[in-house]
Symmetry: C2
Subunit: 154 residues, 2 copies
DNA sequence: AATTTTATTGATAATGGTTTTCATTTCTAG
DNA sequence: CTAGAAATGAAAACCATTATCAATAAAATT
């Protein structure tokens, strides 16, 4: 996979790959978590010692990245939007989420993805035909209690 | 199915089945849509000519209903929470959603549900074992363009 | 019935994540 | 160099949802 496969997308749209934008992509590419806009903003200040990037810019950048398909947007039910890098057009590392409703912990799983994918493809085709829908993406999430929260909340 | 299978749940929890609560359940039971709290609030005033129920009560009632499993809560990405009756403990009319990202239209589909259910059950078991998660529910949604929006947005 | 307790309610204010506004700065094309 | 476009951050606005609180209604107890 090319290192910065998104460069072309920026150029094509007449957008500039500025340092705030690169920093935000960098943060996303180095975490396995699902940071919120504020998480990213705080990381910028703490880890990158960058006091010059405003929260507004973080939100704006994320919106651009989502629209370009570089970043996926998720709602795990805790009142804030969370983001994660889509990891390229080849879709490698495609996964779904397991969400702990107690502590908010998220587990990315890739198990069963192949079977899921096969079923989803068939379902998408069927639904597209029946409802004349042009399906662009799907969302699968499981909600429950993680190991810790099972013990602490009997 | 019993007509008001939720009565017992209210009694059991020491809660009262007041007229605002009944009205809200009634609205939910008579729609195939996925109203937001404000939608329900407006319906109360318009269709039920009831000026006495405040928005706060709608939110509070919905929270109770969700906690009791009488109502499901959804986020379709338009910034407001949407609600729908779970339709009883037997789970009849179990369905998933097709969401138009352009106009927000929601289609409930029950096609492929059986196959999905079979896969989901297997997946849940596998995930529960591997990650020691106690899974309570799942979410499956497809996003795309509905028929109208495909034509109007070429 | 009268009284005490508990649950419910709605108006209002507060919260908090996200967006808008706007004046300023930075980049780029010509 | 210069004009135009894009990007930025601070502050204000937005808006769905929640908390506060005093008032009311229903149930439990006397």
């Amino acid at each position: 996979m090319r290192k910065c496969w998104w460069r072309g997308k920026f150029e094509g749209a007449g957008l500039r790959l500025t340092s705030p934008r690169l920093a935000i992509i960098d943060i996303l590419s180095k975490t396995t978590k699902h940071p919120s806009a504020e998480d990213i903003y705080l990381t910028l200040r703490q880890k990158y010692n960058n006091d010059n990037i405003g929260l507004t810019t973080v939100y704006r950048t994320l919106e651009i990245l989502v629209n370009m398909g570089i970043v996926y947007k998720f709602d795990f039910g805790d009142g804030r939007t969370r983001y994660e890098l889509s990891e390229g057009p080849d879709g490698f590392r495609h996964h779904h989420h397991l969400v702990c409703t107690e502590c908010g912990r998220i587990i990315d799983y890739t198990d069963f993805i192949d079977e899921e994918k096969e079923l989803l493809d068939r379902t998408e085709k069927g639904l597209a035909e029946k409802y004349h829908f042009q399906i662009h993406k799907h969302l699968i999430q499981f909600y429950g209690l993680c190991e810790n929260c099972q013990l602490n909340k009997p």
